[in-house]
């Protein structure tokens, strides 16, 4: 139990918040807006799961927002040119994976610090995209929205995809050696290497995986509206990292599980709507988000201190 105290705490806070909303602002649970909100957060959940794995292996990737934007534009341009869904999906994911591979090669191959590499790639991709698109929206063909399904069907599909990915990754992190090895590499890369693992290849693989997930998440976002905004994905890296951290993933690697990340995503995603439903002024949003992040970390720290002393 104690091992999961952070995840349980976050889940607890989330439940308290949801309960409070149920009492004071039951409109929060209206089915259609709720589905819309969950579908909107599905790409964030995917990104948060990915970044959690990256952080578990003791790296970080702050370029995922730009990866997301570039992949969205790639998907949008292909879709507007008439390519079929399956092909666009495949190419977008591969494109994301390719960009992730660049990050991976620099981090694993040249042993450059991941925060600096991904800072550089974030800036290069973001400015490059701005230069190319100049802010212009991309109009998608009508058949694209919701994969061609009905709105409700599309939203349920997206939410199911995200949950499926979550379940699969959570299961894999207990039972699939590949992901367990990430924990090993993140805890102590040298020990992992001596144990026969290849830390550099694992690091490379996790960045490629992150890129692929960013591509997939981008597509999940693209199908939700008939236009692609090249600015989408702004601030997404901070959202994903904050959600992962609040959910218990350690920046120093080796610790964290995806259920905590799930709780973290839901908690942080509920703050802004909660403000609207509770009729609180919008300018409190950032302060409250910062406070939630700090409280989550402080609680952990106090607990550690008590254990040490």
């Amino acid at each position: 139990m104690r091992k999961y105290s952070r995840e349980l705490t976050v889940a607890g806070v989330l439940c308290v918040l949801l309960l409070a909303l149920a009492i004071t602002a039951p409109a929060f649970y209206e089915p259609q807006p709720l589905l819309s909100r969950l579908a909107r957060e599905a790409p964030t959940l995917i990104l948060a799961c990915g970044i959690a794995l990256v952080m578990v292996s003791r790296q970080i990737d702050i370029s995922i927002g730009s990866l997301f934007a570039v992949s969205s534009v790639c998907a949008g341009l292909l879709a507007a040119a008439g390519w079929p869904l399956a092909a666009v999906l495949g190419i977008t994911v591969l494109f994301g994976a390719g960009l992730g591979a660049v990050n991976g090669a620099l981090v694993a191959g040249l042993r450059l610090p991941s925060i600096v590499v991904t800072l550089a790639t974030m800036v290069i991709l973001r400015e490059g995209l701005r230069w190319q698109q100049q802010g212009a929206f991309i109009n998608l063909p009508d058949s694209w929205q919701w994969f061609g399904l009905s709105q409700r069907g599309g939203q349920i599909t997206l939410i199911s995809c995200a949950l499926l990915a979550l379940f699969a990754l959570a299961w894999a992190s207990r039972n699939f050696a590949g992901i367990r090895f990430l924990y090993a590499v993140g805890s102590n890369a040298e020990a992992a290497r001596l144990a026969g693992l290849r830390p550099q290849w694992m690091t490379f693989a996790v960045f490629v995986f992150m890129g692929a997930l960013a591509g997939g998440a981008a597509l999940m976002n693209v199908v939700q509206s008939p236009q692609v905004d090249p600015k989408s994905g702004t601030g997404l890296e901070l959202k994903a990292i904050a959600a992962a951290v609040v959910g218990g993933v350690a920046v120093s690697g080796g610790r964290g599980n995806l259920w905590g990340v799930f709780a973290g995503v839901l908690l942080l995603a509920s703050i802004n709507p909660a403000l609207t439903y509770l009729h609180v002024e919008a300018y409190w949003e950032k302060a409250i988000q910062g406070a939630v992040i700090l409280l989550a970390v402080v609680f952990d720290g106090l607990r550690n201190q008590r254990e040490i002393s």
């Binding site: 450059l112 400015e127 350690a250 302060a287 992040i293």
Partner: protein, 344 residues
């Protein structure tokens, strides 16, 4: 192999390594200067040089104070947001609080130090990861700035005597340079000439070892974050003078620029290795690049892309020889050399 590597390290003192990275950066800076001089009609003029100085004063201050933080193995993502918060508090204390400008400035510096103290308490006392704490305060400080002003309020109409601080020249140089220089010299002396400052590198290298060696690690780490808050407040005041206006979104994105400058200057993000003069070169290189590209009639986006590429190139340049050495080294049983730059 690990033993051989450590002996090799003894033969090649750290100082020479640092010198090499900074030389490369210096060459880059000189190269930039010469290129833009040739391409831009008005690039090398004193006016333009003073422009560069004026535009990079606040960010330079943030980068300067970020250096000891990163040296100790930490990071501070909240300095940009703190700049914004201090700017509006400065304006509020003066306009709504009725304080005189010097008193308001003093209070702002104090508030900056206290905000830095919040970071210090969480990072040094509670031993929480700096990245996450400052990620939280990054939102928190900006959030307070937005909440206090309701996003809408701006503070303007400062007296000309105050605005001269950011806009006029004093003894031949832009006024803010006279604030920048003492801080730069002070931080350089602190990091390079005091044993206090030299301990930063030890703390960044091996914090536990430093602790066992009797260094008051927590206190020193706390100090650098408080210092960061103080300097961010100073930068906020200069910013307000330069712009003639204080708004809640002041300083957006400055922390990334500061980190880029510090890393470009040769300081390792993992801590333990780095220099203040490297940071200054890094700030200069980026500032000259941004300014020069305007003279070269290039769009702004190119400046961003080139800065990112420069960062990768600067880091890669020092790593490629190591990569080649690793590739040439025999595979079996060869442990990758452990160093502060390569914990994995």
């Amino acid at each position: 192999m690990a033993l051989a590597e450590s002996t090799r390290k003894k033969v090649r003192p750290i100082g020479l390594l640092l010198f090499r990275h900074e030389t490369i950066l210096l060459l880059v800076l000189v190269g930039e200067w010469l290129y833009f001089n040739a391409v831009g009609r008005r690039f090398g003029t004193p006016d333009n040089t003073f422009d560069i100085m004026r535009h990079s004063a606040e960010i330079g201050l943030l980068a300067l104070v970020m250096t000891p933080i990163i040296l100790t193995g930490g990071i501070d993502l909240s300095v940009g947001s703190l700049l914004g918060l201090c700017a509006i508090l400065f304006g509020k204390l003066w306009r709504d609080g009725g304080l005189s400008l010097p008193v308001a400035a003093g209070c702002t510096l104090l508030i900056g130090a206290c905000a830095g103290g919040l970071n210090a308490a969480l990072i040094a006392r509670l031993r929480l990861p700096a990245l996450i704490v400052t990620l939280g305060t990054y939102s928190l400080f900006r959030g307070f700035a937005e909440a206090i002003t309701r996003g809408v309020d701006t503070f303007t109409n400062f007296p000309d005597s105050f605005l001269a601080l950011g806009q006029n020249r004093f003894a031949g140089l832009p006024a803010q340079v006279w604030f920048f220089l003492p801080v730069a010299i002070g931080i350089w002396m602190l990091v390079h000439r005091t044993s206090f400052g030299r301990s930063f590198r030890a703390i960044g290298f091996v914090p536990d070892g430093a602790r066992f060696a009797g260094l008051p690690v927590e206190r020193r780490v706390a100090l650098v974050y408080v210092l960061a808050g103080l300097v961010a407040a100073l930068a906020a005041i200069i910013y307000t003078a330069r712009l003639g206006q204080a708004k809640a979104d002041a300083g957006t994105g400055y922390e990334l620029f500061a980190i880029t400058a510090v890393v470009l200057g040769g300081t390792s993000i993992f801590g333990g290795v780095g220099s203040v003069h490297g940071t200054l070169l890094g700030v200069a290189a980026i500032a000259v690049l941004n300014n020069g590209l305007v003279h070269a009639r290039q769009p702004r986006e190119v400046a961003g892309m080139l800065t990112g590429a420069l960062l990768l190139a600067a880091l890669g340049a020092s790593e490629i020889p190591k990569l080649l050495a690793r590739m040439r080294a025999p595979r079996h049983g060869a442990a990758p050399p452990l160093s502060p730059n390569n914990p994995s």
